[in-house]
């Protein structure tokens, strides 16, 4: 550790607790309380990564979640490895391992740095323009582009950590625990409202908690000591829940918010065992108070991206919060008063300030006079025109700004420095506000977008609302929260504010240089290497919309989503195009505010919990008998039952042969079953099926085809009339829920006059289908009391029966074309009845068959499967099923559509049977049928919907 960079005075750092960590394979030390960024800076390390496109050396730029440069790979070569982590947010712990990204062989010497020299030929849109031709070369280009793309490495093995989702309901949610957030939370909780206060940092108090300056005081105390007492007080409030390390990711409509709570990332790995790593909080708040603060703007000048260039507020935070100096010879570059606060902190610690470069000609504030008193040279009305130093800044050159700020004049002066703090003023963090649907307005005087129209019961306070001065923040927070929460008592009696800062600012989006713009590299988006030159090029090439310029130049499209540079991009566009900035609006801020891990998003819904899966009552038997399963909707259905190393084809051939020759047995429990009752049940079926139902006798079954109102086949199945006003309808396995929904829809909305009640009974029954020439013998052994003679029990009829005193329904219906019985019994008896059938069928080689054989058997018979042979563009006529469409019925769902001009068109695709010339050849399902393969574009005549080899027909 370089001792002269560390000051042992910060109360946020535990100097008795030394922590060792590894960065780029070297061991370093820091203290408990450090972030990876502050610990690296204390070790004199600025260079932590390479930029995305030009591989330029990049250093730590900020001290928070807005960091564009210091994104690193955490936990290399471990199952926990995580790319693109912001070093400014990582709290160090014993044994932390991290490394730089996007560089090879090392961050200090990176081969990709050649791109920086090639940059004149790598402008915005380079990839779009260059790799267009010849078309056939794309695959070759792609290989190399893919290799060079991307930043970190994704993990290759399963994540060992546990994640979860929690719901939180509260009266008031306060986002951000800075000075105004803390005041708002206290007022809400003290007035009896259930309040939740969240902050992304590990500590409360925002940037005021480490401000010990004499120039910002509340009730004659430093803001840090005043705030410390406030925090102490609110931590005892019963109505208030406080969550730190909790970052709100999304603010949706109706005050529904998603936040990520980090629980173990700051702990050494061996203390994380069996603990939840991150939680996704799903928050429903009656009222939301957004106090997310603001983000300091950088300044845009030539070579503004060198390691050692930081936001001026970050330099202050590293000194005051972490006790770390970012450099020993500092220069500050500003257009407003906040940099002077940094200067005061530097002066307090006796750190050298070589100069302050201020865009403004006139500076009139107490704090600037104080700084000047310390014999620090302030260059008023100056700008930086260039910087020097490859791996770390070592020099800058400055020139005087012209009156209008558009050019530079006079002599160039060079100044030495090892650290440069920049301050371009502040951008309110309105991301969450706009995500929620809020509308912004542009404030001309200091060029900021601030909240204007609120879409829900919410309010923005503090600097995210455009209040930057301490007095303004506190006064406006008090008055607006009182009004927003409708309370009289603010809990704050008198508050005296002293502030030595003036809010004046000289805003120049793109600072002028003595070089032509083509020769400069002034970065707007650091992470994506987008420069002001790229933005101007996009405008020259005709892009006008901010959304188009963003995508063309990739400005704001990095993992930081342009938190630093988006405003400058807007500013440069309006300056160049000569338009007003407010007119362009902003690009859309989309969730998440900071990246979320996939683990947080999926929570516990991993592995077997990823989706619900439904098992039939006979499932365990299938598993015990070596079934392979197929997913049908959410169901696991037995697919085929391989014996002695059979492959699927062999098993299916054996199963289907057995079903035709002797007996097969199928678990059909997954078919949807809807119980239909009511005096108008027959009329209802008449209206929903294409065929007629009124004359179906009690005890009989009938196949029905259901259409959509557009005439296309929707579902099919057999419906049985159980009683005068009682039917049971079967549907396809996958269509069950939708059919019920559709029928309910018609009943409730179109035909409320019908006396019909529907209930889903799919899960109530197990359905066992026994088919084949010997099926009668088998069923008669299982149900000896039932007369199975063909005269008494005809095809397409049903009988009530009993198996060991348990009631069941037996239907003589067949999907295979074989003589079949379908036994429906209360679900929990399903497995034992199945086993009875297996036992009874032993002498007849009863063979369990799965869905694949079922498909083959029905194809032999010529039955369709809705969803396989149909695809929502097929009418019954297209399927050669006009026999099932009633001509007599006045109306049914879809009838009118069957003679629309399109459905009676002559050249509609038809379902037909195909045979191959070579009987052993099986066409591939989905294959296209073409007449002439040489003609391009190839004309498609149709496609294969189902295809099998039949062992029974030998073709």
């Amino acid at each position: 550790m370089t001792n002269n960079l560390r000051f042992k005075t910060s109360r946020f750092i535990d100097e008795t607790y030394r922590v060792s960590f590894k960065f780029n394979n070297k061991i370093y030390f820091g203290f408990k309380g450090d972030t990876l960024a502050s610990a690296l800076l204390a070790n004199g390390i600025h260079l932590v990564g390479r930029s995305f496109k030009y591989h330029r050396p990049r250093g730590i730029m900020t001290s928070g979640s807005e960091e564009p440069n210091a994104i690193i790979q955490l936990h290399d070569n471990s199952s926990r490895t995580e790319p693109n982590v912001r070093a400014t947010e990582v709290e160090i712990y014993e044994g932390l391992v991290a490394s730089s990204q996007n560089c090879w062989p090392s961050v200090n010497f990176d081969i990709g740095g050649i791109n920086n020299l090639l940059s004149p030929i790598l402008p915005a849109g380079f990839y779009y323009k260059t790799f267009m031709w010849p078309v056939s070369f794309w695959e070759k280009y792609e290989y190399f582009i893919r290799k060079s793309a991307g930043l970190g490495k994704s993990p290759k093995v399963a994540d060992p950590d546990i994640y979860e989702h929690n719901y939180i309901h509260c009266d008031v949610l306060v986002i951000g625990a800075g000075i105004s957030g803390i005041m708002a939370a206290k007022m809400a909780a003290k007035n009896g409202l259930k309040t939740l206060l969240v902050d992304e940092k590990s500590y409360l108090g925002g940037s005021s908690i480490y401000d010990n300056s004499e120039f910002s005081k509340i009730n004659n105390q430093t803001t840090s000591s005043w705030l410390e007492k406030e925090i102490n007080e609110i931590s005892k409030l019963e109505n208030l829940e406080i969550k730190t390390r909790t970052s709100v990711a999304a603010f949706h409509g109706y005050n529904f918010l998603l936040a990520r709570e980090n629980l173990t990332d700051h702990l050494p790995i061996n203390q994380r065992e069996n603990k939840v790593r991150q939680r996704l909080l799903k928050i429903r708040a009656k009222k939301v108070i957004t106090a997310t603060g603001s983000i300091e703007r950088p300044l845009i000048f030539d070579n503004n991206d060198r390691p050692g260039i930081l936001l001026s507020s970050a330099i202050k935070k590293y000194i005051d919060l972490y006790g770390v100096a970012c450099g020993e010879n500092n220069v500050l570059f500003t257009n407003n008063d906040t940099a002077y606060e940094t200067a005061v902190s530097l002066i307090q610690r006796g750190i050298k300030i070589n100069a302050i470069i201020d865009n403004r000609e006139q500076i009139d504030s107490k704090i600037s006079y104080e700084v000047e008193k310390n014999n620090i040279k302030i260059y008023k009305g100056y700008t930086i025109v260039d910087t020097y130093g490859y791996r770390r800044i070592n020099k800058i050159s400055i020139m005087k700004l012209s009156k209008d700020g558009q050019t530079v004049i006079g002599e160039k002066t060079k100044l030495n420095c090892d650290c440069l703090g920049v301050s371009g003023g502040w951008t309110p963090a309105v991301h969450l506000f706009t995500q929620s649907g809020g509308k912004l307005k542009f404030r001309e005087e200091d060029q900021v977008f601030i909240p204007d129209v609120y879409p829900s019961d919410q309010i923005s306070i503090g600097s995210c609302n455009g209040d930057f001065g301490l007095e303004e923040i506190i006064k406006n927070t008090l008055s607006s929260i009182k009004k927003f929460l409708d309370i009289d008592n603010s809990e704050y009696k008198t508050i005296e504010i002293i502030s030595g800062l003036n809010q004046s600012k000289r805003n120049i989006w793109l600072l002028p240089s003595d070089k032509s713009i083509g020769k400069t590299k002034s970065f707007v988006d650091y992470q994506n290497d987008a420069t002001s030159k790229d933005i101007k090029l996009a405008l020259r090439e005709g892009f006008r919309s901010i959304e188009h310029v963003k995508r063309y130049t990739t400005t704001g499209m990095g993992t930081d989503q342009g938190k630093l540079g988006n405003m400058h991009a807007l500013g440069i566009i309006s300056e160049t195009a000569g338009t007003k900035m407010g007119e362009h609006g902003t690009t859309t801020f989309r969730p998440p505010y900071t990246p979320l891990t996939f683990g947080t998003i999926v929570g516990r819904n991993v592995g077997e919990f990823f989706d619900i899966f439904r098992r039939t009552p006979i499932h365990d038997w299938h598993v015990a008998n070596n079934a392979k399963f197929e997913n049908v909707g959410q169901w696991k259905r037995a697919w085929y039952y391989p014996k002695n190393n059979e492959n699927m084809h062999q098993a299916v051939q054996r199963e289907s042969k057995a079903a035709r020759d002797s007996a097969g047995i199928l678990d059909a429990s997954t078919l949807g079953k809807i119980d239909i009752q009511g005096t108008d049940a027959s009329e209802f079926l008449n209206r929903v099926y294409t065929n007629a139902w009124s004359k179906l006798a009690v005890g009989k079954c009938r196949y029905g085809l259901m259409l959509n109102e557009d005439g296309m086949v929707y579902d099919d199945g057999v419906t049985t009339r159980l009683g005068e006003n009682h039917y049971i309808m079967t549907t396809t396995t996958g269509g069950a829920a939708n059919v019920l929904g559709k029928l309910e829809d018609y009943l409730q909305t179109e035909w409320p006059e019908l006396d019909v009640y529907l209930s889903s009974v799919t899960d109530h029954y197990a359905t066992i289908s026994v088919c084949g020439p010997n099926s009668k013998k088998i069923v008669s052994k299982v149900i000896p009391d039932l007369d199975l003679s063909d005269e008494k029990f005809t095809h397409m009829s049903f009988k009530n029966a009993k198996i060991d005193n348990i009631k069941c329904r037996v239907m003589r219906i067949s999907f295979t074309g074989e003589h079949s019985y379908e036994i429906n019994i209360q679900a929990n008896y399903g497995k034992s009845v199945w086993e009875k059938c297996m036992e009874a069928g032993k002498d007849f080689n009863i063979t369990p068959y799965g869905t694949e054989t079922m498909h083959l058997l029905r194809a032999e018979k010529g039955f369709i499967i809705v969803g396989q042979d149909t695809d929502a563009t097929m009418t019954p006529i297209d399927l050669q099923m006009d026999w099932i469409v009633s001509k007599k019925k006045y109306d049914f769902i879809g009838k009118r559509s069957l003679y629309r001009s399109d459905t009676i068109r002559e050249n509609r695709k038809q379902l037909v049977g195909l045979l191959t010339e070579n009987p052993d050849e099986v066409l591939e399902e989905g294959a296209q049928i073409v007449a002439d393969i040489k003609k391009t574009p190839i004309e498609m005549l149709g496609h294969v919907t189902s295809s099998y080899y039949s062992p029974n027909l030998k073709k």
Binding site: G253, Y254, E709, E744, D745, P752, R896, R900
Partner: protein, 91 residues
């Protein structure tokens, strides 16, 4: 995500509901007497309004009841919910 006040169950999360398109489109009583164009009008033509829109919703993971909703599509404010067959309470 909306909070929807189901007329039968009370306020519930949007995830319990399913949207069912434009409301107050009545299925013709004599479809066979309609021309292709008239049938197409019923079958396909739907409004896509920026502003006040009348919609059908189904509390599919709740009471399974269909009901109507008046929603401002420009800001997702739900102006009213009412049962099937009832007249819209707002214009």
């Amino acid at each position: 995500m909306f909070l929807i006040n189901c007329p039968f169950c009370g306020e519930r999360e949007q995830s319990e509901f399913k949207a069912g398109g434009e409301a107050h489109i009545v299925r013709p009583k004599q479809p066979t007497e309609l021309s292709d164009d008239e049938w197409a009008e019923y079958l396909f033509m739907r409004k896509n309004i920026k502003g006040i829109q009348f919609e059908r919703w189904n509390h599919v993971h709740g009471c399974r009841k269909w009901f109507n909703m008046v929603r401002d599509t420009s800001n997702d404010q739900i102006k009213a919910v009412y049962k099937m067959g009832e007249k819209p309470p707002v214009k």
